[in-house]
């Protein structure tokens, strides 16, 4: 399963990286006279409502979706790691304040907060990345804090402390390497979640600007003709699902690898 996940994700990353060489048509071009044409040898996956080439748009969309997912996950990961570590390690009022903030941010279910914030900002790629990072760090912070809390009481930490190591050295050199695995597992699930989230925002019209070909925008365009003919909605959806499945497979695989208790 993990292998399938890795293959899927690598394929989509390659598609995104080499998009300009893989596309057969300009993904932004339109051709109203051939709108809704079914798949053919010139347009492999058919043409959408505006006559755009669905295959080229999907390849180009991989670039958009993966950029948002990877950049936002990295940002959330580092913000969460840093704030969560400080809260878990030092405790006190900072811990209290940060965790209440996390509670409040997590009190908004799923995409609601991102969706509402996006509605008040103008749609742009940068804003989408920023929104997912602003909301996404909370999960990482929670996991980091819990892990740091349990690690800092362990004997090896006491040992390095008695050897005179300062706080930042203890955190960075001794605690972080021991807490990374659950965070990386979480990161791969978060990537999948952001792929869905980004497409959802675009589908609802508050994500990536409509002139940029993204998977969510393609489905949003398909909605305008009530998802008819079927292929205009089916192909972009397959791309989204395969990418998300890929990240979830990787996450499952890594979790089993690092937590053998779950395997039995």
């Amino acid at each position: 399963m993990t292998k399938i996940g890795l293959i899927l994700v690598t394929l989509f990353i390659l598609a995104g990286l080499f998009a300009p060489f893989l596309i057969t048509h300009d993904p932004k071009s339109t051709d109203i006279s051939h709108r809704f044409s079914p798949p053919s040898h010139t347009h492999w996956l058919g043409q959408d409502k505006l006559g755009g080439d669905i295959y080229s748009k999907i390849i180009y969309g991989a670039r958009i979706s993966l950029t948002v997912a990877i950049v936002s996950t990295l940002l959330s990961f580092f913000i969460g790691l840093l704030l969560g570590s400080l809260a878990g390690y030092y405790g006190g009022w900072w811990d209290e304040c940060l965790m209440r903030l996390v509670d409040i941010l997590l009190a908004f279910p799923g995409l609601l907060l991102i969706f509402a914030l996006a509605a008040f900002l103008s749609p742009s790629l940068l804003n989408v990345i920023m929104l997912f990072s602003i909301v996404g760090w909370t999960g990482f912070a929670r996991v980091t804090r819990a892990q740091v809390l349990s690690e800092k009481e362990k004997e090896f930490v006491q040992a390095v402390r008695s050897l005179g190591a300062n706080h930042s050295r203890i955190l960075i050199r001794h605690i972080w390497p021991n807490i990374l695995s659950p965070l990386i597992v979480q990161a791969s699930f978060v990537m999948g979640g952001i792929i869905i989230g980004e497409s959802s925002l675009s589908f609802l019209g508050v994500g990536v600007p409509p002139d940029i070909p993204s998977w969510g925008n393609m489905l949003s365009l398909a909605k305008q003709s009530s998802f008819q003919p079927g292929f205009i909605a089916i192909f972009p959806g397959i791309a989204i699902m395969l990418t998300v499945l890929g990240f979830n497979f990787i996450g499952d695989g890594l979790r089993d690898l690092w937590d053998p208790k779950l395997k039995k």
């Binding site: 103008s122 909605k223 009530s226 998802f227 909605a233 959806g237 989204i240």
Partner: protein
């Protein structure tokens, strides 16, 4: 138990204030003048002034927040530019969302518990594999694709169900399946894990040693204990259904809170957006609280933590 409930309810207060504070600050992250954006630059100065007063945008920010809270709690939040009451609008659309969420939940529970138990009982067979594949697909498939897929299959190709609109029981089947699938997937995984743990317990071995049939063991001894974590997660997921309803309702043109929120965003009716977000978040928090209390009631160990 009373002390636990009281403590949890008190914790709710800062969270609810936090929610209103965040929702209030939405209006201030808008680049530019919110009134200009809502009414358009070309609107008359008189009506701009009128709405600026209505939204208290002419006051200092701390006072604005207090007046905003007052409007929220006294039900005086007004739509822009129609000046309709936001809560009236929301309560008109709420029953449709509640109906959809309940049927989605029924779908999820009715499918997931047998599926998860089957996977656990037939652990490491192809049946286990298939049911886990179904659940993995269910988690990975986004609402805004499953919905169209079901429409293409069961409304166009095989015209069994109506395409959209809320009209009778048949019209709720496809939206409920769309909304409930992710929850179904999650719950069946959970049922499987929880059943796998329970069938290894000593009391199950005892039951078997007493000579009880496998069906009796499964339904009288395993099922009840499996249900505790499943119900907890189902409760928490009920909140996720509320946010999932935004997409599902948009796909099916279902006249609930979710589609109301999308319409409000498209027409830049920001007070209505704020009202919808506050309602959904509050419901989510309250449902989570009730689930926790229910869980603590079922499992006394939780209360003491």
């Amino acid at each position: 138990m009373k002390a636990y409930i009281l403590r949890r309810c008190l914790l709710l207060v800062p969270i609810l204030f936090g929610i209103t504070l965040i929702v209030f600050s939405f209006m201030h992250i808008i680049p530019g003048d919110p009134i200009d954006i809502m009414l358009g630059e070309t609107a008359q100065a008189v009506s701009k002034d009128h709405f600026r007063k209505l939204l208290h945008q002419d006051k200092p920010i701390p006072l604005q927040y207090i007046l905003f809270l007052k409007d929220v709690f006294t039900g005086n939040l007004k739509s822009i530019p129609s000046e309709e009451n936001v809560w009236a609008k929301i309560s008109e659309r709420f029953p449709a969302t509640a109906e959809l969420a309940i049927w989605a939940m029924v779908f999820a529970i009715v499918i997931s518990i047998p599926l998860g138990m089957l996977a656990a009982v037939k652990h490491k067979t192809y049946l286990d594999g298939i049911s886990m594949l179904i659940s993995l697909l269910g988690i990975s498939i986004p609402h805004f694709w499953l919905g169209p897929l079901l429409i293409i299959l069961f409304a166009y190709t095989l015209p069994i169900f109506p395409i959209s609109e809320r009209s009778g029981f048949l019209s709720i089947v496809l939206p409920a399946i769309t909304l409930g699938t992710a929850m179904m997937a999650l719950l069946s995984r959970l049922t499987r894990t929880s059943t796998l743990e329970i069938i290894r317990e000593d009391y199950i071995r005892t039951a078997r040693a007493k000579g009880l049939s496998e069906t009796t063991i499964l339904f009288k001894h395993v099922l009840k204990n499996t249900l505790v974590p499943v119900i907890t997660i189902a409760g928490i997921q009920m909140g996720a259904l509320l946010s999932g309803s935004i997409i599902t309702e948009t796909v099916f043109d279902w006249p609930g809170i979710g589609s109301l929120l999308v319409e409000a965003i498209q027409s830049r009716n920001y007070p209505l957006v704020q009202g919808c977000v506050i309602l959904i978040a509050t419901l989510y928090v309250v449902i989570n609280l009730l689930t926790d209390i229910l869980y603590a009631w079922a499992d006394p160990r939780i209360r003491l933590q």
